[in-house]
């Protein structure tokens, strides 16, 4: 394998891995930018989204194989993504209603704790309801391996990158072009005054959670397709790392979070490529530490005074 191919292969790998960080980080960043809260339940919403997608896909496949309805596999995939996004967005609204709305005037850290606890409840409820068995996500598309300049790439990999980038662009358009998006941006600018202007925080906050959760669900389904082993704790580590990416991107910059997600993916993959892979977390997070030491407000964030509202 030549050096170029080797590099290309790693870039392709990093793109796929970064996509997941990016799409999960978007959810964190939405809630963080607009409501100034950490939604620590987000990693577990991602897990729930993946399980919901698993349920929908299995159900649809069952209907197809038993001959009740006929549809091609790509349609099942599309339906799975859309339906699980839809269902999971309600989960997001529920989380906001239970864990965040009652705490709107409380210290921000308290809301972070409720998020953390809701996350634990989601994990445990899943474990109690579905049992400890790992679930295999149904293979909705048969894997095909292509070679580009000696590097291997699968149709799943392409799907993951294309769909997640597509969703990101869609979100970007939504936030920048629509009235709702404008309301959100206004809220992120000042959530004390803006509600006085007739933009209700009781609508914007659930909407933010719903969109973030829908994105997490899409990420969850894509994740299930690429890494088809689901378990109740799958959202924890990826969630915390995406959280790092979201903050690294900078407050007030949703796309910054996505870019930081890709960056984290690239850092992790390339550190593991260049150094002994044992040292990956050590070096990757040291890099994060150094970045934040020199750019204390993230990549795209502006300096602001965000002490906890105690």
């Amino acid at each position: 394998m030549s050096l170029m191919t080797f590099l290309l292969q790693n870039v392709l790998n990093a793109l796929q891995w970064g996509s997941f960080y990016a799409i999960i980080a978007l959810g964190y960043a939405m809630v963080y930018s607009i409501l100034m809260l950490f939604n620590f339940a987000h990693g577990d919403i991602f897990m729930a989204g993946s399980y919901i997608g698993f349920g929908i896909a299995t159900g649809l496949l069952y209907l197809v194989t038993s001959g009740i309805i006929a549809m091609p596999h790509w349609l099942i995939l599309v339906l799975t993504i859309i339906l699980s996004m839809f269902v999971t967005s309600f989960l997001g609204i529920l989380v906001e209603r239970i864990g965040y709305r009652p705490l709107r005037n409380a210290p921000r850290a308290s809301a972070a704790i409720t998020g953390l606890m809701i996350g634990i409840i989601l994990e445990t409820a899943n474990l109690a309801l579905l049992g400890a068995k790992r679930r295999g996500f149904p293979a909705l598309i048969t894997q095909k391996v292509y070679t580009i300049g000696g590097a291997f790439v699968t149709n799943r990999k392409i799907l993951v990158v294309v769909v997640s980038i597509g969703l990101m662009l869609l979100l970007d358009q939504f936030v920048r072009k629509t009235k709702w998006g404008m309301a959100m941006r206004a809220m992120s600018y000042d959530f004390v005054v803006v509600p006085l202007m007739g933009v209700s925080i009781d609508i914007i906050a659930p909407l933010t959670f719903a969109i973030g959760s829908a994105l997490a669900a899409a990420g969850g389904v894509l994740y299930g397709i690429s890494y088809p082993v689901l378990n109740p704790y799958m959202g924890i580590i990826i969630g915390w790392k995406a959280f790092v990416a979201a903050i690294l991107g900078g407050r007030g910059s949703i796309m910054g979070a996505a870019l930081a997600g890709f960056l984290l993916g690239f850092i992790e993959i390339f550190v593991a490529t260049v150094f002994p892979s044992t040292l990956r977390d050590l070096i990757a997070f040291s890099i994060v530490l150094v970045i934040l030491t020199f750019r204390p407000y993230g990549f795209f964030g502006k300096p602001y005074s965000a002490k906890l509202r105690l």
Binding site: P102, I118, T293, K307
Partner: protein, 431 residues
């Protein structure tokens, strides 16, 4: 109806309002002594397999038929003796407390602490399970309190505490295992195996070393925090935690992921008790000092604090190092209680646990941290029989606490030792 209830409640309250801390302690002492001598026969009489260890909760959850028995047991052994003794001796105890009140504070504090230690040691003498829970709770108090300095008093959202604990745990383990134990990972004992009493003498050195290294590690978090505000610090501290865990995973000579075992059995109850008291005492003094007020000023408005001549950099650095130091000590004790330490222990789960204890108990409050740590640990052990459901009930409880008391159960409260220990007047007489 409600008024009557309130009236009754206030009467009960008044009945017990004139009892000083000393009285309660003596009551508790009587209760544990009664349990020590009669607990088993009473449990036998009530047809319970054995005496309930944690106030009957575990028994109730396992065998609902034992509910009345457990209730009677708790009433007869704890509630009634404590109430009766405390009430009857209140006059005498008030007089004694009044006498102590005129002496220097430390005399009175030491007398109370000796009593408290005696109560605890009699209580735990009946069951080693209780002893273990007590040890872990005392360590949890230290961790919670030290995190409260950073998260509560200084108002940062620091996630690095498991990392500090890991540093303390490993350094003190290297000290004790490397120098005094023949071990397959760290090799021959460099100073030879020593008898237990020598171990008790050198153990503080190991713990202090662990605390010191943790404090130095804290600089890695504290220095970027000069420029970074609020949320970015959360990321820095989180990154620090990941780095420490990954570091110990990679240090082959410490056993890597396999962990480091066979620590000597030095973390006995008196040792942990003394360290916990020291921790509470120094942290309370720290937060009540000018420096502690500076912490609050930094939390409320950093630039204002700066302009009021608070050296914010120094304040932050000291707070971080101080918190990390005690977390390191707690980590060292933790490693010696379990007599095993591995990097996996100090991960995201530990973080969630520590954060939960701080915010459950109450921000900016020493007493809140004590309540939070002990409450969380007891709850976690009491609900053990529920298995999986336990991890639905505990988070739900925490969410409820957060919703109804967003800053925690007992937040923003001064911990004034003199106030607690002084003789109490009846509510009526106070008027």
């Amino acid at each position: 109806m409600k008024e009557r209830k309130n009236k009754r409640f206030s009467r009960i309250r008044e009945m017990f309002s004139g009892i000083p801390a000393l009285g309660w302690l003596v009551g508790a002492l009587v209760a544990v002594i009664i349990e020590y001598y009669f607990g088993n026969s009473l449990a036998d009489f009530l047809h319970m397999d054995r005496l309930p260890v944690l106030f009957g909760v575990v028994v109730i959850l396992k065998r609902p038929l034992d509910i009345p028995g457990a209730f009677v047991y708790v009433m007869l052994i704890y509630a009634i003796p404590i109430a009766v003794v405390a009430r009857l001796t209140s006059r005498l105890m008030n007089r004694i407390a009044g006498f102590f009140d005129r002496l220097p504070l430390w005399v009175s504090a030491i007398v109370h602490l000796i009593l408290l230690y005696y109560v605890l040691s009699v209580w735990t003498d009946l069951s080693d399970y209780r002893l273990l829970i007590l040890k872990l709770s005392l360590i949890a108090i230290m961790v919670t309190l030290s995190l409260n300095v950073i998260n509560g008093y200084m108002g940062e959202f620091s996630c690095s505490h498991p990392g500090f604990m890991a540093l303390g745990a490993y350094v003190s383990s290297i000290f004790s295992v490397g120098l005094f134990v023949n071990d397959r990972i760290l090799g021959h004992a460099l100073l030879g195996v020593v008898p237990a009493w020598v171990g008790q003498l050198v153990f503080p050195i190991g713990l202090l070393l662990g605390g010191a290294i943790a404090a130095i590690g804290a600089l890695i978090v504290a220095i970027p925090s000069f420029r970074t505000r609020g949320d970015y610090l959360a990321i820095i501290s989180l990154a620090f935690m990941f780095i420490v865990k990954s570091l110990f995973d990679n240090l082959g000579f410490l056993g890597g992921a396999r962990g480091l075992g066979s620590q000597p059995d030095w973390a006995t109850l008196p040792t942990i008790f003394i360290w916990a008291v020291l921790c509470i005492w120094t942290i309370n003094n720290f937060v009540e000092s000018t420096m502690g007020k500076a912490l609050n000023a930094v939390r409320d408005e950093e630039s204002a604090a700066e302009s009021m001549t608070v050296n914010t950099r120094k304040t932050k650095m000291i707070a971080f190092m101080f918190g990390a130091f005690w977390a390191g000590i707690a980590g060292g004790l933790f490693a010696h209680v379990l007599r095993y330490v591995n990097p996996g222990t100090f991960g995201l789960r530990k973080l969630a646990e520590v954060l939960a204890m701080v915010y459950f108990g109450g921000l900016n409050s020493v007493i809140g941290s004590i309540v939070g740590a002990v409450g969380f640990n007891l709850l976690s052990e009491m609900l053990r029989p529920l298995e999986i459901i336990k991890w639905i009930i505990i988070p739900t409880l925490l969410i409820l606490v957060m919703i109804f008391r967003p800053t925690g159960l007992i937040a923003f409260k001064h911990f004034d030792v003199r106030e607690i220990l002084k003789p109490k007047l009846k509510a009526k007489e106070r008027m």
